[in-house]
Each structure stands twice: as C-alpha cells, then as structure tokens.
Symmetry: C2
Subunit: 371 residues, 2 copies
C-alpha cells in the first residue's frame, strides 16, 4: 500500500475542544490536544499531523482553532502553512468549524476533497489508518460523504455506533458499505449485541467528502449556518475577512457536524462507511487515558509525567504528575491522581466521567483561574 | 475539685517522636507534636502544656526534646523555664528521656513526684483529666508507680490494654486499683471482650511516681541505662554536662519506659492504675485523625488547613491542605489526601497504618529531603 499523498485531498483538523473531563490536566489555555497524553513525546495535535502527513503532504493539512491557541498550534506544527490555520473568534462547534474550512478550501481549490480528523484522538497502526482513509477518499470521489467506523475491540458503552448496511461496489474502496443508521451510546446489553454482530462500528467522527457535497448537505439541513459560512468564506482571502467574521460568526448556530450533515445524509442513503481496523480512542476521560497508557492492563499503576518520585504501594490506576513533588499512593485500586502546579484531582476510574461536573462547579464559582 | 498546683509535682513531656504515620504532614523538622492537628489553633505540645498548667504551674513543666526542636519548643512554650528543657543529642526512646528527667529533677528536688505525658496526644475534658492526675499523684505519694488507663469508648484494636486488679485503698485516690497486667494490641474479638469486661483500660503511656521510685525500678531492670543516666544527671547542672552527655548518651539502651519500668513493676504488684474518664487519642495515623476531627462521624469529608478551594463530590474522609491549590475529590469513601508543598499522600483510612512503610521506603532511597 503506497503512502504517496492522495490527489486533491485536504485534511481539516478541528482543534477546539477543551476536554473538560481531563481537568486539571486539560485547561482552557492548554486544552487536551496540546498535551502529550500517550507518552509519545509530542502533543496529540502533532500526532494527528504526523499521521495525516503521508496522505496529504505538509501543504494540505489545515487546522481550525481558537484565537487563544493560534500561537501554540504554530509551535506544535512548525511546517503548517500560515493560510492553512483558520482562526475561530469563538467556539461554534464542529459544523461551523468544518463547514468554514470546507467553504474556504472549495473556493481556493474547486472540487477539493476534505477529511476532518479530531486533533485530540489517539490512533495506532498507521498503515491500517491510511488504508481506511484511502478508501474513504475513493468514496468521496464517487460522490459519497464517507466516514471511517472503528471496528470495536470491546462492547464499549462510551461511544456512539454506526450500523453498516449493504456493501458498496466502488473502485479502490473494497471494504465500503452504506451507513444504515447512527446509534447513540448504548447500554451494556445492547453494546454486547453490537459487538457480537460485527455490523456495528464506533463513530469516531471522521468525515471525508468533496467539500461541495458536504456544503450542499449542510445547506439542505442548516441553510442559515450554510449561508453564514458562505459569507465568511467569500471574504476570507480578501481584506474583508475581519469584518465578515466579526459580523457573522457570533450568530452561527452551535451544532455538531454529526447532526448537521452526517445523520441527515445517512437517512438519505448518501453516507458511506469504511471499517477502520486500527486502534482508536477519543481519550475522553482519565479512565480511558489509564486504559490507553496501561495497554488495557488494569493491574498496574501508570505514570504520565517526568516525576521519578512516585511511591506506589498496593495501588492501580493512573498518576499524572506535572510537578516535582513526591507522591505516595497506598491501597487504592483504579485510582486517578492528577497533580498540577495549582490544582489537584483525586478520583477513581469508576467516577472519571464526573470530572466534568467539578469543572462546571468551578465555573459557577468563578474559578476561571484554574480552568 | 480544686485546680491549685499539686505540691512537689513536676510534669515531664517527652517530645521526641516524629509520628511517621502522619507523613507528609509530620516531618523530622516539624514533627507531630508541633502541629495543630485538632484545629485548636495551637500545637499538640502547647495543648499538653495548657492541660498540665493547672496541675503544676508554669515553673514545674519540663520537656525532653531533640536539638533540632529546641527553638520551636521555646516558641510554642514561651513561659517554660530554660532549665526545664532537657535536650537529647539523639533519640534514645522513652526510658532514657523520662529517666534523664527523673534523675535531674531528683537531684534538684529530692523526693519530687514526676508524671510523664506525651507531647502529641489529644485529650478533652480537662476536669476529668485533672481528677485522674490528682489520684495518680496521691498513689505516687503512697509509694506506687501509677498510670492513668483510659476507659475505652469502643473495642479498639489500635491500643494496648491495662487489666485492672484489686482495688486499692489509698487516700485521695478513690478509683485506684492495682495493675494486674499489660496486654499488647488485641485482635477484634479480644478487644470486644475487653470492652464488655470494663476491667480493661487503654494504655496511654502516662506514668506518675516519685522520681526515686521510678529510678530504683529502672536500676533493678536496666542497671546500665540507670547508671548512665545517673552519670549524666550528676553532671547536668555543672560545667561537665556537655562532656558527660557526649560521652555517655550515645551508648544508652533504646527501650520504652513500658518495658524498662512499667511492666516489671506491674509484675511485682507495684503498679497502680487510675481509670481516666476523659477523651483520649494518640492521633497515631490519619485514620484516627479523621475520626477525631469528624467527631467520629465517618459520613463526611473533613478538612484540616486554611484552603477554601476544595471541591468534594461524593467523598468522605480527610483532606489536609498546606497549599493554596484547588483540590477536587470525587467518589472515594474514607479518602485521605495530604497535600503539602513538596509531597502528596493519597490513601484511605483502611490503609492509614501503611504510611509508615512509605516513609521507610523513602528513607531507604535517600529521600531525607521530604522526611
């Protein structure tokens, strides 16, 4: 399988979400995608760049991010073209972010194919990833909006699912199928059925299509959002950009690309899926981070950070250390300790989802200094 | 019951132990007795001073402590007489510490009665405490070595016990009895029997006797230790003190007063006990500290420290905060978090005893900086 860049294919990396279930590691100032969560030595954003590079080359990777992160994105991705960083003045969710990139790129390169890939997911097995993207791009060339659904490695209740329908006969997309439907996060019994069934894939939020096809689908479902993005995109590469952004962006609807594009397209039979047979995780909370770092072995204590002053006695889980403090943990299974300069979190894997509510409480009490 | 100082009675406060099961709060530099563990606003040592003051007056309280703590003891007890602070050049356990004080005080005030009271225990109900000490002093005047045994408030397995024998008929000691025997920390079944029996009291390590009687008992059981202490005491109030201490002290046997004096005296029928009907705790580990601060209510999260940036979600136990960091704890019962500038401990009440082993491991790895 060759790794030459795919013709006329641009990657769009929406780099917006804070990842509040990873507080206090992930903050508004340094959100999840800027962190090295896997011990690779570089950020998740840089991992994403490196993963896409063989498919696009350096000139065809774009990032949509907030004003606050422009500088750090530039530091993490020194080879990115200046014109390929699209700055959002405020967060308007994924339909606006990806739609903006699609509209700008369609103007610059009519007929372009774009693929959106989250900045803060973990993926391993590069060849299998590339194989899936190549097929998705082939489907896009054939006019489909396509997605890559992850072949489940367990009956997870933490992800939404994509149900495969009939197989498709598209050149260079040997494993493609039509999407029957999207399913929200299931309960455990249902997840077990899905896992046994093999026709259910995890929705990893990767969407690949011609930009004009995506924009047409957006126009059909969210006409106001589409026209707002069109207005901004028309002005983007002119001296009217700042004015158009300031005027139009704040009023754009906050909606996920899943609801604005993917699910309606699926309902019309226009969404194709390629199964991805690679390791994938959205690293959504500390429990999944612990699982990822431990390689799925819950019987050990994992350490994320440079701290060599950690004493573990009869404990398992994850210690994230951003300080030089000595840390001693005794007798707690599934423990999560996140030790940063100005905030400390102690919980267990079982309660990792509840971190988000602490962040909510801190917001309400005006503690923006630690968020 | 009057609170005038008891005639010819000196208090001896051995202030030596680090309290390593309270690491990282308690350190070699600032051991347990220098901390305010109960939220009283002053240290346990100062609490001890205040408790003894009505029984002795300020001129008859003595402290045996290490060179490293001389200054802080002076700060905590500004009214202590300079000559009443006995400095140990190194720790030689309680028989040496109390024996030294006894020998010095006997030379200064022949026939003196001394009572030893730990610097780092918690006691509440002052009148009941004074009533017990008054009786113990009356027993000492009658020639007994006496101890105050705490009437148990629960079937504890964390303390040693004293079994009461026949009642004694000594003036001003209406509740006195002979000590039948000492018992090491029992298992739970045995503790329950003791608790139901009412003749078993907790050994709180308080010993009251004429200094010469205590020294004679020490001479009978540990003649070398006794003669060493005699040599030092002879030189103490002369210009030979430094030389004698330097020469003799390092060779003194390390043994607890319980084994060197109390248990042998009990075996000979010379040990008397007064039941103490007051709240007592040795605050030996974070589990007992949590219990003490919560007033025995395990269904809440206690906070020791000034930090108002603590977010507790579905957790009980104890947070000790010595920093201004935001702390969030989620979903752990009986949690112990001790957050200091250079060290962090996370465990549960169940495992509070194991903190000592972490300190041991840190010692072995040469981490004296955090001990």
């Amino acid at each position: 399988m060759p790794s030459a860049p795919l013709e006329n294919f641009y990657a769009v990396i929406p780099a917006g979400g804070v990842g509040s279930r990873l507080w206090p590691l992930s903050r508004a100032e340094t959100p999840k995608f800027l962190h090295d969560l896997t011990g690779s030595g570089v950020s998740l954003l840089r991992n994403t760049w490196d993963r896409l590079l063989p498919l696009t080359g350096p000139d065809r990777i774009t990032v949509v991010t907030g004003t606050a992160h422009e500088q750090k994105v530039g530091q993490d991705l020194p080879d990115i073209l200046e014109g390929n960083v699209f700055i959002e003045p405020s967060q308007r969710e994924s339909a606006a972010a990806i739609g903006l990139a699609a509209a700008i790129l369609e103007r610059r390169h009519p007929g372009v194919i774009i693929g959106s890939f989250a900045a803060d997911h973990h993926i391993a097995r590069q060849r299998a990833f590339e194989f899936a993207v190549q097929q998705a791009v082939a489907l896009a060339r054939a006019g489909y909006i396509s997605t890559i659904g992850i072949a489940p490695s367990e009956p997870s209740v933490g992800f939404g699912y994509i149900q495969k329908g009939d197989e498709l006969d598209v050149e260079d997309a040997p494993m493609a199928a039509i999407v029957e439907r999207f399913v929200e996060k299931p309960d455990l019994d249902t997840a077990r059925k899905y896992y046994a069934d093999r026709n259910f894939l995890w929705n990893a939020g990767m969407f690949i299509s011609r930009a004009d096809v995506l924009l047409a689908e957006l126009a059909a479902n969210e006409p106001e959002l589409h026209s707002g993005l069109t207005e901004i995109a028309d002005a983007w590469d002119t001296d009217q950009r700042a004015e158009a952004v300031a005027r139009v962006w704040p009023g754009l609807k906050k909606i996920a690309i899943d609801y604005a594009v993917a699910e309606p397209a699926a309902a019309k039979g226009r969404l194709a899926v390629v199964p991805g047979h690679f390791d994938w995780d959205d690293v959504g909370d500390f429990a999944s981070l612990a699982k990822l770092i431990s390689g799925g072995r819950p019987d050990q204590m994992c350490l994320l950070g440079q701290n060599d002053q950690v004493h573990v006695d009869g404990s398992t889980g994850l210690i994230v250390s951003q300080t030089a403090r000595t840390i001693a943990v005794i007798g707690v299974e599934g423990l999560i300790v996140v030790d940063t300069a100005d905030a400390l979190l102690v919980t267990t894997s079982e309660h990792a989802q509840r971190v988000k509510s602490v962040v909510g409480a801190l917001q309400e009490s005006g503690r923006d200094d630690v968020l």
